[in-house]
């Protein structure tokens, strides 16, 4: 069954059809939430909330990119979580052991297909990027996540966050500049292949 047929069935209340869509998009939604929120558990909660909300409001979907429509629900869920978090104490970025020590090489990043060196480099890069993403204002972070991690084009991003194209371009440019500045701050902590121009001696 193709996506359109599944969507129509789900709109008629067919939960099984919706679950097939959820399985197809859950990784993308989870990764988006993870990059915006910077926390596995919160990202999982936001993804689940987004899918529940999507199912309940599926009748409001009137065509167009279903991926963009789902991404809108998950970014909304992330914004809700960020607002809640703004009223609470901050959540640590790194996973912690039972003794509240940060994990040196957390299992949550492990990918069995990588060599230990590759894994370590990826972890360092991910740590640095996630740290820099966290420093961005939420609006900038969302745009850069949608553009450079989910690889949406500008029109799709505008549809997801209901923002004019000019604003998208402006936010994305400034977000990239800030990320560059932040990543330069990591200097030689980044693996050589990932260093920016100055750290590479160019």
């Amino acid at each position: 069954m193709d996506e359109t047929a599944l969507i129509r069935a789900a709109q008629r209340g067919d939960l099984e059809a919706f679950n097939r869509l959820a399985l197809a998009y859950q990784d993308m939604l989870f990764n988006t939430a993870l990059r915006i929120l910077g926390d596995d558990d919160l990202a999982a909660d936001a993804t689940q909330e987004a899918l529940i909300s999507a199912f309940r409001s599926l009748t409001s979907y009137r065509g167009g990119s279903f991926k963009a429509w789902l991404l809108r629900t998950v970014t909304n869920a992330c914004y809700d979580e960020l607002r809640r978090r703004g009223r609470r104490s901050t959540v640590p970025l790194e996973p912690a052991t039972r003794d509240d020590d940060e994990m040196e090489s957390p299992r949550w990043l492990a990918d069995p297909s990588m060599t230990p060196e590759q894994r370590m480099e990826t972890e360092e890069l991910e740590h640095a990027i996630q740290h820099c993403l966290e420093d961005l204002p939420p609006d900038f972070r969302t745009v850069v996540v949608l553009a450079d991690i989910q690889e949406l084009d500008y029109r799709e991003i505008a549809a997801v966050i209901h923002t004019p194209l000019g604003t998208i371009k402006s936010r994305l440019a400034r977000a990239r500049l800030r990320l560059r500045d932040c990543l330069q701050g990591f200097g030689e902590l980044l693996p050589a292949a990932f260093r920016l121009r100055e750290e590479r001696g160019l």
Binding site: L23, Q26, D27, A44, L125, E126, L179, R197
Partner: protein, 228 residues
């Protein structure tokens, strides 16, 4: 390192995503050729962009499929929902008229009651003028006469009627106006007039139809989901 103007920054960023027109792209290319700082910035932003795109896609920690409890499935409203809404409102209105009307009817019906009491003596005279005909009629119904006595006693126990004489039976079987003057002050108003009964029936029928349709809709919805 100096930061570029926002305009140039936006141009460079958009160029990385292929969002510049040919004219704008050509203009930017000439700018970059003339300004090494801008060219370096372009390289940096391109590198940042590629780093972000090289981030590994993480797998979801578990499946996020929904079960009916999470989705809190509610049966959709039937197509007749608006009609049912009006039916319920109409039923409520009719009920109000049916029972609320009882407070207004006595006022409206009071003159009629007085008219009836005024007409009572005339009715008595009319009975008096034809005793034989009535009595004969009762004689023809003689087997029923003995049974009439206990009924009459039940109806008005305060009256003692030793025998079921034709006159007594006639008085008891006469229409309520003969009894009305005494009992009107003791008994409450009649239960329901015909038009009230009609309104009540209509309102009950409407409410029952609305409830029945909703119930059928819910049962059909549940049956459909149980099959799945």
């Amino acid at each position: 390192m100096t930061n570029p103007s926002l305009r140039n920054l936006k141009r460079i960023s958009a160029s990385l995503d292929g969002q510049l027109s040919r004219v704008e792209a050509a203009r930017l290319a000439s700018l970059l050729a003339a300004d090494l700082g801008l060219a370096g910035l372009r390289d940096d932003l391109e590198h940042v962009r590629s780093l972000l795109r090289r981030l590994p896609m993480r797998r979801a920690p578990h499946n996020f499929t929904l079960h009916p409890g999470m989705a809190r499935l509610r049966p959709p409203l039937p197509r007749l929902a608006p009609v049912l809404g009006y039916a319920s409102a109409l039923a409520a209105l009719l009920l109000v008229f049916t029972f609320g009307g009882r407070f207004f009817i006595p006022l409206a019906a009071a003159p009629a009651a007085y008219d009836l009491t005024a007409a009572e003596p005339a009715a008595g005279e009319a009975f008096a003028e034809e005793p034989v005909q009535e009595a004969g009629g009762l004689d023809n119904a003689a087997p029923a006469a003995p049974q009439a006595t206990p009924v009459a006693e039940d109806a008005s126990p305060e009256r003692s009627i030793p025998t079921a004489t034709p006159e007594a039976v006639m008085a008891l079987q006469a229409p309520p106006p003969s009894v009305g003057v005494e009992e009107k002050s003791l008994e409450p108003a009649p239960v329901l007039s015909p038009w009230q009964a009609g309104l009540l029936s209509a309102s009950i029928a409407l409410a029952a139809a609305a409830a029945l349709l909703r119930l059928v809709n819910i049962l059909a919805f549940r049956a459909r989901h149980r099959r799945k």
